[in-house]
Amino acid sequence: MFRKAFRSIRLVVFVTLLLTFFLSGCKSDKKPVMKIGYMICNSEQETLQRFRPLTRYLTEKTGIDFVAVPVDTHDFEKRFNAGEFALTHTNSLLYIILKEKDGLKLIASEKRGQFGPRTAGAIITRTGSGISKLADIRGRKMAFGPMLAPTGYLAEYDLMAQAGIDPERDLGYYSIPSGSFKHEKAIYGVLYGRYDVAAAPVLDLELLVGEGKISPDDFVVLAQSSLVPYCTFGAAKGTPPSVVEKVRRALVALMPDETVEVDGERLRVLKSAWIDGYEELLDSDFNSLRDMARRANMPPYQKF
C-alpha cells in the first residue's frame, strides 16, 4: 500500500519536472518583440526594402525580435506618442521634435556621402539661368522638398530668411512637387526649366553627380547651409538602457561586409540600406539645426 503510494508520488513529481522543463524551454526561446518606426522617405515599399536587412541584423546582434514598421512622416509623432515604437529612425529634424516633446534618446546617426553623418542644404539654379546670386531669386519660380526635410526645406528657408528674402512674399511662387522622390523632382525641375531655383539636399546632388545622372557643370550653387546631422536612430524613454546600448554598439560596429538572410536571400546590410556606416553623434551636434528651426519658426519651436 505504502509502496504503491510512493510510486504514484514519484510519477507525479517526474511529470511535473518534465512539464517544467519543457515550459521553461519554450519561455527562453521566445525573444522579446520591439518595433522600430522607420520614417518613409519615398515609399513604404522602398523603406522596407532598405531597412528589413538592417532590422534583421539588429535582431541577430541583440537577441530582440525587432519588427520594421514604415511610418508616414506626418503620422510619426502621433504614433510615437501612443507608445508604438521602442526605436525610431527619422531625419534629424524629426529627431529634435521627438526629443524636445517626448524625450527621445539619441542612439547613432547614419553616415552617407562626403560629410559622413552630416549634410547640408543648397539653393541651386541651372547654369545659364541668368541668376548668379541669392538676391536674384526674387520674383522667380522655386521648388522645395517636403516640409519636414531638414536639408530639402528648412535649411534653404533659413538661408533665404537670413539673406532678407521672405519665401512667402518675395518669390514669384514656390511649390513642393507631388508624390515620391520630391528632392529629385525639384532638382530635375530646375535642370529642365520648370523652376528657376530649387531647394536641393547636397546629398542628393552628390549622389546624382556620383551616378553620372547630372553633371556639376549643369547647375550653380547659389547658397549652402552649414552642416547638420543626417538620419538618426533614437530610443523611446521607456526602452531599457541595456537595449539602447546593445543597439548602439551593433550599429557603430556595422561594416560593409556584414550580411543577413532575408526571404532566403543573403544581403549586405549597409548596401541594402544605402548607408556607409553609423556614427555616435552628441545631442549638441544638433544645435545648428535647432537654431535653423527657431529662426524659420518651424516645429518644435513654432510660435503662432
Binding site: 562626403q114 560629410f115 559622413g116 553623418p117 552630416r118 547640408a120 543648397a122 547636397v202 546632388l205 552628390e206 553627380v209 556620383g210 553620372g212 553633371s215 556639376p216 550653380v220 550653387v221 549652402q224 552649414s226 552642416l227 557603430v252 556614427e279 555616435e280 553623434l281 552628441l282
Partner: protein, 177 residues
C-alpha cells in the same frame, strides 16, 4: 692541306668570321664602359610629368576652390573620382576642401587615406608636400576632437576620429605606415 681553291676559300671565310666576331665583342665592351644612363634624371622626369598631369587633371577643382565655390569643387572631385577613385592628390585636395567647410573629422579621414597612398604629402622636400596644412589640421584635430573625446570617453566614433589624428601626427613626426 690548303692545296685546292675550295679549302682556301673556306679558310678565308673562317678568318673573316673570327675578325668580325672580335670586332663585335670589342664593340660591346666599349659600350659597357661608356657613361650609364642617369636614373635619377629619369626618375625626376617621370615625377615631373606625373605632377604636371595631376595639376592639369585637378585644375577645374582648384579653380573652383580658389573662387570659393567649395561645394562645386567637391562635386567636380566626385566626378573625377569615378575615373581615378584612389588618387592621393584628389584625396588631399578633398581633405583641404572639407576642412574649409567645417567637416574636420571627414577632412582628417581624407588626409589619412591620401598620406597612406603617397607619403610625399608629408615630406617637406617634395613638390607635392602639403605638410604645413596637414600639421595645422592635425593640431586642430588634436585640440578639438581630443577635448570632445575626453568629455565623452564612451563615444567610439570620437575615439576613431582621434585615432586618425594620431596617425597623421605620427606621419608628420617621421613615422612610417
Amino acid at each position: 692541306m690548303l692545296t685546292d681553291g675550295y679549302d682556301k676559300w673556306l679558310c678565308f671565310l673562317l678568318v673573316v668570321t673570327l675578325i668580325a666576331l672580335g670586332v663585335l665583342l670589342s664593340g660591346t665592351g666599349a659600350r659597357k664602359v661608356g657613361p650609364a644612363p642617369d636614373k635619377a634624371l629619369e626618375r625626376e622626369i617621370a615625377y615631373q610629368s606625373q605632377l604636371n598631369f595631376l595639376k592639369k587633371l585637378y585644375e577645374p577643382v582648384e579653380s573652383l576652390r580658389r573662387t570659393g565655390n567649395l561645394q562645386a569643387a567637391l562635386f567636380k572631385l566626385d566626378e573625377l573620382a569615378r575615373t581615378y577613385p584612389n588618387e592621393a592628390y584628389g584625396l588631399i585636395l578633398k581633405g583641404e576642401i572639407l576642412y574649409r567647410m567645417g567637416a574636420l573629422e571627414e577632412a582628417v579621414a581624407c588626409y589619412v587615406r591620401g598620406v597612406r597612398l603617397n607619403g610625399d604629402y608629408v615630406d617637406w622636400k617634395t613638390p607635392l608636400s602639403r605638410r604645413a596644412e596637414l600639421q595645422k589640421v592635425a593640431d586642430e584635430g588634436l585640440r578639438l576632437l581630443g577635448d570632445k573625446a575626453r568629455a565623452n570617453p564612451e563615444n567610439r566614433s570620437l575615439a576613431a576620429a582621434l585615432k586618425n589624428v594620431y596617425y597623421l601626427r605620427s606621419r608628420l613626426a617621421g613615422g612610417c605606415d
